[in-house]
């Protein structure tokens, strides 16, 4: 037995905090700028690099990966070392992790305004940066698991469980969703297309929220909240249940972003019911946080740290109630594509992530610099500014979202649209955009006050690294066991909770195919198994048998593998059938024809400019939508869409059936000055499209790449791509010239017009396929037409 002194690596923690605060200011400032652009289009400044559709991804990426990412790493590095009673395994890996992550952020900050993007939300970064992210994440993982291996604490505290879940799941999500074929160093195409791409993207997108913005912060909550409150954590058994339920259920919930789209009904239903089932597990985390203050609520009055942490947990509770609510199909029908969703994510991002970060920083920085917080009063002011800011933000977005959702569907007594002009619905919510800008700006001001306060605190002290002294037991000669125990791994895989979980899940799986009678039998079996499991578990506990959970909590490898399995089940169950499905066979109707070379070039410009940030290409099966936009979108229309462009927000109208609706001149005029054709619009102008040229020689390369992705272009198509591109472009140029507008045939304007003109129909430079049925009689009411075509 001897004593060992440990000096923790707190330098890395300090670095991550500085980076988080700096990038937090940048990310939120860009957020305030894009918010102002929605209220005043002039704030787009008329140049490509500051246009809303390019900056919005910068804002989301900066806040998620730069602000919360760095904050998460700070919290993880600080708490992990202390919970495991060991220094991080490798200072070198810590350094590589820190600097690598910052380089990635800088690369993102440069590439996104340049229009280098994959257009997959929260995964917009192009493939070289994606590779870098994967590498740095692996460095982090090695450092973390190596530290686990060197720990001086046998069992893992709940915070560590959440860190493990974060590390393995983010790796899986990032790699699968980023699979793409590169065209060049700055351009790649998703290997998935259409419905598949949409499902993979939102499996990723939703779980980026779950495993990047939620689980690591829950871990941080479990460490810093009881530390700050100096109170015990409420319930260990609650932490077990909510942890395993959260990691298992969360992964299934992605399709709730795609309700009422062309995604198959079964996948939508899974997304919805698993989101509903997430409510209680999420609130389990909230409860364990809030009830830590049981009997010590008075501390809230004096301590700004606790104010932030408790308010953060409360916002988490609000957001995780609102999430399941919005996942109910009929609620989603109203809320999807509106600002309600934007308000929802900001109650999470500003309330939960932002306040947890602030609480953690205010607690940590004085300790990391061996001093006291410079101004608790300023921290208090920050809290109130921030809270009022969030409330203004949330409430304005609720009003805006519900107003617009209701206006889109409002009908006259004869069933026609009450607000047929989209701009009317936009003008109605403009005041809310101004309120949101004000709320967000207040939050930003509070955050800057925090930066100042932390800076003054750091300057007043000097950097100190934490220390601890531990007692290391020599590997004692184990007392001769009376009966040789089974090897550890056998105990793990034969543990009762695991066996029962597998049994119940296996039976449940068959519900996917069962017919009613068999399903009732299966449900009965599940209930019996569950009851049996409960009785056995209770008896074991009363008998004082060692808990299986205690066992795996002392075995990081087993724990990690089980976590990985738990998150893979949902992903495999949803993604695999959709990907295996032979998409090329249209389920009900004519499949889409591949894009013409010029249309493909135009599509890339649509992606580059980020049109998807405001326009959907997915008409849902509601009469109010088919009246406004055209026939319901069908899965087979997107099979060559690498990547999909369904979008998630309608600041502007849906574009899926835009093709042929307006003349080329309309599009030209609209791109040059959106208000010339749509008075009141808040769309930024895109005049540079008329000046800049497409890379003519890219056309055959793009077709060849699409060929490799499975798009049925013939070799002759590839060889003739340049000539075909030119002839289609000259057709459009001639049409514009006839009406007095001169643009070069290879200008970006012509390419994007060609893409917009083919949306919802076939390539426009080929003779139209003979109509299968004559055009519907003109007098037939619109809705009837829509059904006939939808069938």
């Amino acid at each position: 037995m001897h004593q060992q002194r440990i000096i923790y690596d707190d330098t890395t923690v300090r670095r991550f905090i500085i980076a988080s605060v700096l990038f937090g200011i940048v990310g939120m400032a860009v957020g305030a700028l894009v918010a102002s652009q929605l209220a005043w289009w002039q704030a787009n400044l008329g140049i490509p690099y500051t246009t809303y559709s390019r900056l919005r991804p910068l804002h989301t990426n900066a806040v998620i990966f730069a602000f919360v990412g760095n904050m998460m790493f700070a919290g993880i590095y600080y708490s992990t070392q202390r919970l495991l009673k060991t220094r991080m395994a490798s200072d070198l890996l810590s350094k590589i992790h820190f600097w690598g992550w910052q380089l990635i952020i800088v690369a993102a900050a440069i590439s996104l305004p340049l229009g280098i993007t994959t257009s997959k939300e929260y995964a917009e970064l192009e493939w070289p940066i994606d590779v870098a992210i994967a590498v740095i994440w692996v460095v982090f993982a090695i450092n973390f698991f190596w530290t686990l291996a060197r720990r001086h604490e046998k069992n893992l505290y709940v915070a560590i469980w959440f860190y493990i879940a974060t590390i393995v799941t983010v790796a899986v999500l990032h790699i699968v969703n980023s699979l793409a074929l590169p065209l060049s160093g700055v351009k790649s195409y998703s290997v998935f297309a259409g419905v598949q791409d949409a499902l993979v993207q939102w499996w990723y997108g939703h779980n980026a929220v779950a495993f990047f913005l939620t689980t690591p912060i829950l871990g941080i909550m479990y460490y810093f909240l009881p530390k700050a409150a100096e109170r015990p954590v409420y319930s260990y058994r609650l932490s077990i249940i909510h942890f395993w339920a959260l990691v298992f259920i969360y992964i299934w919930a992605g399709p709730h972003h795609l309700l009422y789209t062309a995604l198959p009904d079964w996948a939508q239903s899974l997304g919805m019911i698993f989101s509903v089932m997430l409510w209680a597990p999420s609130w389990g985390g909230m409860l364990n946080g809030l009830l830590t203050l049981k009997g010590a609520w008075y501390k809230l009055r004096e301590d700004p740290v606790l104010k932030f942490l408790i308010a953060g947990v409360t916002f988490y509770g609000m957001a995780t109630f609102e999430g399941p609510l919005l996942s109910i199909k009929s609620v989603s029908a109203l809320g999807h594509y509106t600002d309600w969703i934007v308000g929802h994510v900001h109650s999470g991002a500003l309330g939960w992530n932002g306040f947890m970060a602030a609480g953690m920083f205010y607690w940590l920085v004085p300790r990391l610099y061996g001093t006291k917080l410079h101004s608790p009063k300023a921290a208090d002011a920050h809290f109130w500014l921030g809270t009022v800011g969030i409330l203004l933000y949330m409430v304005s977005m609720w009003i805006s979202g519900v107003t617009q959702g209701l206006m889109w569907r409002a009908a006259n007594p004869d069933g026609t649209l009450l607000y047929p002009n989209f701009v009317e619905t936009l003008l109605a919510i403009r005041p809310m955009y101004i309120v949101r800008f004000a709320g967000g700006s207040m939050y930003l001001v509070g955050f800057i006050m925090m930066a100042w306060n932390l800076w003054k605190t750091a300057r007043a002290g000097k950097a100190v690294d934490g220390e601890a002294t531990i007692v290391v037991e020599p590997p004692a000669a184990a007392p001769a066991p009376t009966r040789a125990p089974a090897p550890g791994w056998v105990q793990v895989v034969t543990g009762r909770p695991l066996v029962f979980a597998i049994a119940i899940l296996t039976v449940t799986m068959f519900l996917g195919w069962a017919k009613p009678v068999r399903a009732v039998v299966l449900l009965g079996a599940i209930i019996v198994l569950g009851e049996f499991a409960w009785i056995v578990t209770r008896r074991d506990r009363e008998a004082g048998r060692p808990s299986w959970f205690g066992l795996i909590e002392g075995r990081p490898l087993a724990f990690t593998v089980l976590t990985l399995i738990a998150i893979l089940i949902g992903g495999v169950a949803e993604l695999l059938p959709t990907i295996m499905l032979k998409q090329a066979v249209p389920a009900h109707g004519q499949a889409q024809a591949p894009y013409s070379p010029l249309e493909l070039q135009g599509r890339d410009l649509y992606v580059r400019e980020g049109c998807y940030t405001c326009h959907s290409q997915m008409i849902r099966p509601f009469v109010a939508e088919t009246q406004r936009y055209g026939d319901v979108s069908r899965a087979e229309e997107f099979i060559y869409d690498h990547p999909f462009q369904w979008g998630s927000k309608r600041t502007g109208p849906d574009l899926h059936r835009l093709g042929g609706k307006y003349p080329n001149l309309w599009h030209y005029t609209h791109m040059m000055d959106p208000r010339a054709t749509s008075p009141g619009s808040n769309m930024p102008p895109y005049p540079w499209l008329a000046e800049q040229r497409i890379v003519v020689k890219d056309a055959p390369k793009k077709l060849a790449l699409m060929q490799r992705l499975g798009v049925p272009y013939s070799n002759a198509d590839v060889d003739g791509a340049e000539a075909r591109q030119r002839s289609q472009a000259e057709g459009i140029t001639a049409d514009l010239a006839a009406q007095g507008v001169q643009v070069a045939w290879d200008s970006e304007m012509v390419a994007i017009i060609s893409y917009l003109q083919r949306l919802g129909r076939g390539p426009q430079d080929l003779p139209a396929p003979p109509e299968k049925s004559p055009a519907p009689p003109a007098r037939l009411p619109a809705a009837t037409i829509a059904i006939e075509e939808g069938r």
Binding site: Y223, S235, L665
Partner: protein, 183 residues
Amino acid sequence: MSSDKSLLHSVYDGIEEHDNHLPNWWLFILWTSIVFSAGYWFWYHIAEAGPGQLGEYAAEAAEVAKRASGNTPASDDILLALARDPASLDSGKQVFQANCAACHGAQGQGLIGPNLTDAYWMHGGGPMAIHKVVADGVVAKGMPAWERTLGAERVKAVTAYLLTLKGTDAPGGKAPQGEPEQP
């Protein structure tokens, strides 16, 4: 289910971890949401008792179509009568300003789309000819079909309004396109 066990489960880095029971209301939410989900899946995907989202849409569309079937179809007489009805002209003008003016100009003088105030028409200048263009559009020329979005009544009203613009020769009008109207 009360337990005599110590509340304290363990201590990590000075953090005490208690082992309290789960609150009943929380368990209620947990089990209710699970039962609801099982029931939802059973209803829609095992018993297949729901129509599915396209089925729901078909029913909704049929309902709207039934309501719209009460509309009187447009005719020359009806449109000419509306063109003399100030209330209808007022609403027609509003529809025009909101939806048509961007391309045809606030006075109908023509911008992206053709001049509506001269004597030249590309698809005929009679009431029903204009009505057909507004209602069904001319996809090849980029004229949207408006009846689907605006509904039959508003299309009639705006057509009647257009009849009053005819021949006003708004200043700054776009050069004539199409054929002169045969009186």
